[in-house]
Amino acid sequence: MRYGMVIDLKRCIGCYGCQAVCKVENATPPGVFWARVMKREFGKYPNVRRVNLPLLCMHCREPECVKACPSGATVQREDGIVYVDETKCVGCRYCLMACPYGSRFFHAKERYYFEGYGATPFEEWGYRRHPTGVVSKCDFCRHRVDQGLEPACVANCMTKARHFGDLDDPQSEVSRLIRDRGGSQLYPELGTDPSVYYLP
């Protein structure tokens, strides 16, 4: 059993729905993006293409962050989900440097979205999950996955560009898509073996 995600770049329209719904689901503080979208342009006018690349933690099979963590705060579960146990994190940020995908964020100090107004009721409720002085990152919405739900970015994607499932099961939708559509990983040469695949 190894959870993985497949993102279909043909379907993705770069609408930032994933980035926004992650913000709501996980109540991440300002400047912290467990899910984000990057845009790049290729070609010369009028033959131009723009590519949207949704990013999140790659939940690598061989995670550099786990190796770099001196306190055992970064944990890889049996099912492949890599998460941060913030009670053990000492805030050394070695993992930020170790992660080749820029998927980790350090929560330095308590900040709110409306500067000068304090916390909104939503932030009062949500930021209890985000102590300061620790590192945070996407955990594949393990609170949802453990209830049998898909991660929020998968469930909400309005072009159905995201799929979630068991990479170890050759019959699963994600395995089939990777096989049939030629799914690829980011920076495969690094040997991290990400659990996030992109379809062309």
């Binding site: 379907r11 719904v21 709501v24 070609g43 006018y45 939503f122």
Partner: protein, 856 residues
């Protein structure tokens, strides 16, 4: 048992006009998550970034929380009104006194403004205005940047619908003139995103014609850059290729479902049977003219010239064909900058994909199969040439017979046969005068057909002058400034202003200030936005998460496919602070003004409340009671408000006869707009009699399409060398979402949302680097706006493009009004009749500008 401290509440989003069904999670009184309601056909359980971010609109500390009145009598575009808190009682008393006085003197002096951002309040405000007795209700300021004006006109005339969509189940070739349908904006934004993605994955070819490599164009199979304002010329050239080079058109469709066979005389009008007055057609077999609906017609002639009582006549189709003979690709290419070979190639692809003559069996019914669709909206039609360009684009669909049949263009819910139990609501296009389509009951604009004779205008938008004006005419501020010129015998005194930021969504803000600053403006608003700088009173409205709504079920937000969906909007939390739902406030005001009976009568009429659910006109009802009656009247006693509050959505499957209605309804549509000629003559006469024919120029009332240049195409000063355009992004709605910090954060990260896109080579010539501040000066208004450059290869070299309506300046919107938050396009748009399409009073968005690197 539900735990009241941890509940999911079904309701309806209002972060744009799409009305997606939502589930809001409330824990200990706080809204902690908004998800798409999987039961809602509008969104199918998935929301856009705006939709999930509504929590920050609810809790925004910049929201208006108490009634306010201005203490500074001086009004201006950035003059602090000096807000002072007052009680609701004082506010309502002031409003009621003003309204009572106006109503007793002349109710026309009241203007009601609203916004499609709050469809429910807009609808209620329109009812209020109608019951009050003013013809100046309701005006949406979005006519400037946003409205489909002429597109809606042809939606009504050809599709019996407010707007339209491709048949995503079967379409195989979508020719898209810059519409973000399926890309996070436009109608049914989230549902169409899924469907268009499915269609693209299925292999539908998507060709996007757009000056900018927009979020839509970047996902297209082919991007065809075009000079702004010339889409009509491209469509005309495509018509030329279809009719003269390829001979590709659906003869059977044209014969039986259009006025293509109607004989046109030398005066451009129908040749009519003397006694019945019916338009005649030529029976090609019998070789005689017959009324178009004669039972014994053996074959309708589409071509040829015929002698009729000594005068020549030809079928409307033949007239069209001759008319487009000169519009060759060689003619269109220098206008549009689209290469001749590209025009011929995409036309040939389009024609081939249409599979004219083929059929498909759906639900046991054999139907025409025309898997090609054409979309256009603000980009292609937002010009001086709106009516004639829209006509040209529409005719591409009609020539293929791809209108409201499988695979083609579908009106958004043109036909409804009702809930299976009650048969309600129900509407259908029907045949009107001359056998032509009259739009069904799902219609909220002025009725364009049967056409009304142009008459002396009574309203500030010149309502009644031309039946081709459908919605939110850009004429209103100009007439408000000078009603005497148009022989309007009164002046506006009060503006009941409901949630529209007209200073940022109409046109040149200075004109708007001049037009509206002397009115007593009462605003019901979420924010102290730019438009409230001119308010005398501001009432704190509830946002959609704090209120019940009468009409959260706008059918434009339903996909034409799959199922009918009626939702309820209900409070997820009680209104915070002193906010009040303006629909409820209007009920209170109606009572205070003594117009309860009129209001209730209008509610009965327009909500179609049938016994026993019709309102007793003399009784006072709460909004919830009215809502309950509306639902029961439509869907039966068991489906009252309580049922909806629990279930959120009532739905039932759409039928083939509804979705693909064309083969099932005996009705023709025009491909030759004969009566436009008569409308033009009538408008000219009224304008001459009224002495305002100097501004109302009627040459665009034509039966067949042409292409005419916009003012920007004729700009002679060489330094004004670029066209500025605006486009929509999926993370904002108009100007309304810029203070939402989650959306702001995304906008800062995105390369384009807050920047103005300019071609790399063009920028190099002007010495502009990526990220540089630019001065952008409009040839039409002479205003200069500042914005930062984003250099890209993905834009026509003659064009700069800006997203939505950024560049706020209200000091009460601290996030939106910071520097570097986009540009306000309106400053570039001159508001003059010269700059409008007269048949629709649609404002031209083709702003010619000069651009230079800003100093310092």
């Amino acid at each position: 048992m539900r735990d009241a401290n941890d509940v999911w509440i079904p309701s309806v989003c209002s972060q744009c006009y799409s009305c997606c069904g939502i589930l809001a999670h409330r824990v200990d009184g706080k809204v902690v998550k908004i998800e798409g309601n999987p039961e809602s056909g509008n969104c199918q359980g998935r929301l856009c970034a705006k939709g999930v971010s509504g929590i920050m609109t609810l809790y925004d500390p910049s929201r208006v929380n108490v009634p306010l009145k201005r203490s500074n009598p001086e009004k201006g575009i950035d003059v602090d009104p000096g807000w002072v808190e007052i009680s609701w009682e004082e506010a309502l008393q002031t409003v009621a006194e003003r309204l009572s006085k106006i109503r007793s003197e002349d109710p026309r002096k009241l203007l009601v403004m609203a916004s499609v951002m709050t469809m429910d309040q807009m609808y209620f405000a329109r009812l209020f205005g109608s019951a009050f007795g003013t013809p100046n209700s309701v005006w949406n300021s979005g006519a400037g940047n946003h409205c489909g004006n002429a597109e809606h006109l042809f939606g009504a005339l050809l599709h019996s619908a407010w707007s339209k969509q491709p048949d995503t189940d079967y379409c195989s070739y979508l020719l898209n003139f810059g519409v973000p349908c399926g890309f996070g904006a436009y109608y049914a934004a989230t549902g169409m995103a899924q469907r268009i993605a499915d269609a693209r994955a299925r292999g539908m070819r998507h060709v996007v014609i757009d000056p900018f490599l927009s979020p839509t164009a970047e996902k297209a199979d082919e991007w065809v850059p075009i000079r702004p304002g010339t889409d009509g010329a491209l469509a005309l050239a495509m018509l030329h290729v279809l009719l003269h080079e390829l001979g590709a058109y659906d003869r059977e469709y044209l014969k039986h479902h259009t006025n293509g066979p109607y004989l046109i005389g030398e005066d451009g009008c129908y040749v009519r049977e003397r006694d019945s007055g019916k338009p005649l057609i030529w029976d090609a077999v019998d070789g005689v003219a017959k009324p178009f609906d004669a039972a014994d017609i053996k074959d309708f002639a589409l071509d040829g010239r015929y002698e009729m009582d000594g005068a020549a006549a030809r079928p409307a189709f033949a007239a069209l064909k001759e008319h487009v003979a000169s519009f060759t690709p060689e003619w269109a290419s220098p206008i549009t900058t689209v290469p001749v070979a590209t025009i011929r190639r995409i036309t040939a692809e389009f024609a081939e994909a249409a599979r004219i003559g083929s059929t498909i069996v759906i639900d046991g019914k054999e139907l025409p199969y025309r898997p090609v669709a054409v979309l256009y909206f603000r980009g292609a039609q937002g010009h001086k040439n709106a009516t004639l360009s829209s006509m040209a684009i529409e005719l591409l669909v009609e020539m293929m017979g791809a209108s409201n049949v499988p695979g083609g263009v579908l009106g958004q819910n043109s036909r409804c046969l009702g809930h299976p139990k009650t048969g309600r609501p129900s509407w259908s296009p029907v045949a009107g005068p001359d056998g032509l389509l009259v739009v069904g009951g799902n219609w909220s604009g002025a009725l364009p057909y049967p056409w009304a004779q142009p008459k002396k205008p009574e309203s500030m938008s010149l309502g009644g002058l031309a039946p081709t004006v459908i919605v939110s005419p850009a004429s209103l501020p100009l007439v408000t400034l000078d009603p005497e010129k148009f022989k309007i015998p009164y002046k506006l005194e009060m503006n009941l202003h409901v949630g529209t930021n007209y200073l940022m969504t109409e046109s040149d803000p200075k004109v708007s200030v001049a037009a509206f600053k002397d009115l007593f403006q009462v605003s019901s608003s979420l924010f102290l936005d730019e438009a409230t700088y001119l308010s005398d009173l501001v009432l704190p409205d509830t946002c959609y998460l704090e209120r019940h709504s009468l009409t959260a079920e706008s059918v434009s937000s339903n996909s034409p496919l799959e199922e009918w969906c009626y939702h309820v909007r209900q409070p997820v939390v009680e209104p915070l602070f002193q906010r009040r739902n303006f629909s409820e406030v209007m009920l209170d005001i109606a009572d205070r003004v003594g117009m309860r009976e009129d209001f209730n009568a209008f509610l009965n009429l327009l909500l179609d409340l049938k016994a026993p659910y019709a309102l007793d006109v003399s009784r006072k009802y709460t909004l919830q009671e009215i809502l309950d009656r509306r639902f029961k009247s439509m869907f039966g006693e068991e489906h009252g408000l309580e049922w909806f509050q629990e279930h959120g959505v009532l739905k039932w499957p759409k039928r083939v006869e509804e979705v693909y209605w064309k083969p099932f309804v005996e009705v023709r549509v025009p491909i030759y707009f004969e009566w436009f000629l008569k409308v033009g003559e009538g408008v000219k006469k009224v304008a001459q009699e009224g002495g305002f024919d100097d501004v109302i120029e009627t040459s665009a009332f034509q039966a067949l399409p042409e292409w005419r240049p916009c003012a920007s195409h004729q700009e002679k000063r060489s330094e004004y060398d670029l066209y500025a355009i605006y486009y929509r992004v999926p993370v904002h709605s108009f100007s309304a979402t810029y203070n939402n910090p989650w959306l702001d954060e995304i906008s800062q990260i995105d390369p384009y949302v807050y920047r103005v896109a300019i071609n790399i080579e063009t920028a190099r010539r002007k010495g502009i680097k990526d990220g540089d501040w630019m001065d952008i000066t409009s040839a039409g208004t002479d205003h200069t706006i500042k914005a930062r450059a984003r250099l890209t290869e993905g834009i026509h070299p003659e064009v700069i493009a800006m997203a939505n309506c950024g560049g706020h300046w209200s000091k009460f919107l601290p996030i939106a009004s910071k520097s570097d938050k986009g540009a306000c396009f309106e400053w570039l748009l001159p508001l003059t009749f010269d700059n409008m399409d007269i048949p629709t009073f649609n404002l031209d968005l083709c702003a010619k500008v000069k651009v230079s690197k800003a100093e310092g």
